[in-house]
């Protein structure tokens, strides 16, 4: 919809023709049809294309007429064309039902005149489809009725329909508005005549085919509108009589009489005749302000079009106020039918459509951004080395790792079992260094045992190494034995053995292990004193003391040298 129409972007589609800047005014008064262009921006009037009854009746010629108007509008930079039809070739009044005589109901009556005219008209024989009715109020106090209806035929409906169709076809807003020319002319009375104060007045609107009589009371409020058909003459037959009787029925005494000549060749002697018949009345011809491009006898286009130069009102009355402000005089007699109007979306729907298009663009933009984000994320994932990684590679590596782990466990297992935790040669080295030759000590027996700890349930088991040494000692060896009998003394000895042999099981400062020593010395019962020079080292009886040495070294299960319980994996 947005693509094929400018309804969303061009507000003119939903404006009134009278509000548009560029307008084509068509005025048909029976004698002739005149057309004028009005450029509201430049406030200029120009002669419009030629239009005649023949053109109106020939669709092809009518199409050419509209095309020419469109071309001209476009060439002047217009984005829309308002066509205002001033119907000046007919004017009739129809009475309202007397029971509707309620000024407060005017709004409802006005609406009913458009939608259901039969419901408000006095004449029940009227066929609604044949004409168009619009209400005109009589605001004057003391009026017998609240208003009347103006009746116009639908002879110009084909023109309106053609304008509408061309606008749709060209996607160019052509908005029409059909006015009753006498009502528009009546609007101009407020600033074009100056009635005598406190006197009623009568406005006579002279058109080629009819004459309208508008009666205003002393407050310049409308009391009655009458129309008299000219029937091919210059003026209606019995016009003076009609004026006289109506004036009398309204009890107007010597009212002012103002004549508006609204046709090129209307009766120019009417004012003289009126003066002679109503010599106490003030009879004047209303002079129209001349506007360049528009003849003085057809002021309706200029009256109905907006202008920056608003003339000063010479009459201030309720009637003229509502004719202008409430636009009673500017009612559209030939609107586009509801069925045709409803084919197209309303302005609010077009706004909604436009707004939703933006919302849609936003939604799709967000969606596109999100998809782009997702795609970048996916490309980023795919480009990473991890993406091309095959899980089978991990399985192979895992299998290789398992194999290596088993191999390492085997190596660790044998490393543990083959640890130098208990060796005969290092024990002998310990014995030799603990009891060196000529040290005043003689070793009699030596036994060493290494036993595992009996605690069960652990992955590794500690063990105990025990040395039991018995022998003989002289006096000079007692201090040494006492030194060995201390923790520091035995630790120093073990450290020396560890250093000399490189065997870590003798290290006392490693892992979780402890060492306990106990030496018991007592007198040798078989001792016989011999001088030191004569004493033999191998002779047990030359040693005054015996000793009994026990060394216990315990390795806990948490010691690095603890034994693995498990089998080779």
């Amino acid at each position: 919809m947005l693509r094929y129409t400018t309804r969303a972007t061009n507000p003119a589609w939903y404006q009134d023709a009278l509000e548009l800047e560029f307008q084509l005014h068509i005025r048909a008064d029976g004698a002739s049809i005149t057309t004028f262009y009005h450029d509201g921006k430049k406030e200029q009037w120009a002669t419009g294309p030629t239009l005649s009854d023949e053109i109106l009746k020939d669709p092809a010629k009518l199409e050419s007429f509209i095309a020419e108007a469109l071309r001209y509008a476009r060439s002047n930079g217009a984005k829309s064309l308002g066509v205002i039809l001033h119907i000046a070739d007919e004017f009739a009044t129809t009475e309202l039902k007397p029971e509707l005589n309620n000024p407060a109901a005017l709004g409802d009556i006005k609406e009913a005149a458009i939608l259901n005219p039969i419901s408000i008209l006095e004449d029940s024989t009227i066929i609604a489809e044949q004409a168009s009715w619009r209400v005109i109020p009589y605001p004057a106090a003391g009026s017998l009725v609240i208003g009347s209806t103006i009746t116009l035929s639908k002879q110009y409906e084909p023109l309106i329909a053609a304008l509408h169709q061309t606008g749709e076809k060209e996607n160019f807003p052509i908005i029409s508005h059909a006015l009753s020319a006498p009502l528009v002319a009546m609007m101009a009375l407020s600033h074009s005549l100056t009635p005598t104060p406190d006197k009623p007045f009568v406005a006579i609107l002279q058109y080629p085919w009819f004459t309208v009589l508008a009666f205003f009371n002393e407050h310049a409020d409308l009391r009655l509108i009458r129309t008299l058909q000219n029937r091919g003459l210059n003026r209606p037959t019995g016009f003076i009589n009609a004026l006289t009787t109506t004036k009398a029925s309204l009890e107007f005494i010597d009212p002012d009489i103002f004549i508006m000549r609204l046709g090129e060749n209307v009766d120019a002697t009417l004012d003289e005749d009126l003066r002679s018949h109503f010599n106490k009345c003030r009879v004047e011809i209303v002079e129209q302000n001349s506007i360049q491009g528009i003849p003085a006898w057809c002021p309706e286009p200029a009256i109905s079009s907006p202008s920056s130069a608003v003339p000063v009102a010479t009459i201030l009355s309720h009637t003229f106020a509502i004719l202008n402000d409430e636009k009673w005089a500017l009612q559209n007699f030939l609107p586009i039918s509801k069925d045709v109007v409803e084919i197209y979306p309303t302005r609010s729907e077009m706004r909604l459509l436009k707004m939703l298009r933006l919302a849609r663009v936003a939604v799709f933009s967000i969606a596109f951004l999100c998809i782009t984000y997702f795609c970048f994320g996916m490309v980023d994932l795919i480009s990473r080395p991890e993406w091309s990684f095959q899980p089978s590679q991990a399985d192979a590596t895992q299998a290789r790792l398992s194999k290596l782990t088993v191999e390492r466990q085997r190596a660790d297992h044998w490393n543990n079992l083959l640890e130098d935790r208990s060796k005969a040669w290092t024990s002998m080295e310990s014995l030799a260094r603990m009891f060196p030759e000529n040290s005043g000590m003689l070793v009699k027996t030596y036994s060493h045992a290494a036993k595992p700890d009996t605690t069960q349930g652990n992955a590794r088991i500690g063990f105990v190494k025990e040395w039991k040494i018995t022998g003989y000692a002289r006096d000079e060896a007692l201090d040494y034995l006492n030194t060995i009998n201390t923790k520091e003394g035995i630790s120093a000895h073990f450290s020396e053995i560890a250093t000399v042999t490189g065997n870590n099981s003798y290290r006392t400062n490693l892992g979780n292990r402890n060492i306990v020593v106990n030496i018991r010395t007592q007198e040798n019962g078989s001792y016989k004193y011999v001088s030191p020079d004569e004493a033999s080292n191998a002779d047990e009886s030359t040693y005054p003391f015996t000793f009994d040495l026990t060394i216990t070294q315990r390795f806990e299960a948490t010691d690095p040298m603890a034994i693995n319980v498990s089998k080779n994996p």
Binding site: L404, W425, I461
Partner: protein, 178 residues
């Protein structure tokens, strides 16, 4: 009056939004599946890298020990008693025979010493010698160096009653076996 409002809202925003949400959902699902798959692969990849690094480290350690392990395996494959006998014969060949006399060789049944608490196979060897202190110590040094699978269970040293210059040695080993 607003004949088209419902259609405009339906076709103008509801359906486009539904389509957009649908397409986004599809992409979101694809992305989620890819992320899930990637997380799985990443986990495998990290495991692979960790395993590879660990493998290299272990392999380096194993390679360093391989020659020892091979030697141990070769030794462990030999029968304990014959290996000890062979080693003692070779050791005694270059030591003074008077200072190293093997007086007994036994193979006690069952497990003993450290072997009693280990699931690893083991046997016991008991050997008796008569000889001098240092020569026997050298013999033990060589034997235990050649056969690291021997773990000393007990050692007793007594003076010889027949020859005062010699000592009696009785040693019991636990020998690890495959």
């Amino acid at each position: 009056m607003h004949l088209y409002r419902q259609s405009i809202i339906l076709f103008g925003i509801v359906i486009p939004v539904a389509i957009a949400v649908g397409v986004l959902s599809i992409f979101f699902m694809i992305k989620s599946n890819m992320v899930e798959s990637f997380d799985h692969k990443l986990k495998s990849y990290k495991t692979y890298c960790t395993a590879q690094n660990a493998g290299w480290e272990i392999e380096a350690g194993v390679n360093r020990q391989r020659k020892h392990i091979d030697r141990w395996n070769q030794q462990l494959s030999q029968e304990t008693a014959s290996a000890v006998t062979t080693s003692l014969r070779e050791i005694s060949d270059h030591l003074p025979s008077k200072e190293l006399q093997q007086t007994a060789f036994e193979r006690p049944g069952g497990k003993g010493g450290f072997g009693s608490i280990s699931a690893q196979n083991s046997s016991q060897i008991r050997i008796a010698f008569r000889g001098t202190f240092r020569t026997i110590q050298r013999a033990f040094l060589e034997l235990e160096t050649r056969m690291p699978r021997l773990q000393l269970q007990d050692l007793k040293i007594d003076p010889s009653t027949s020859q005062s210059s010699l000592l009696n040695f009785q040693v019991t080993y636990t020998a690890w076996e495959n």
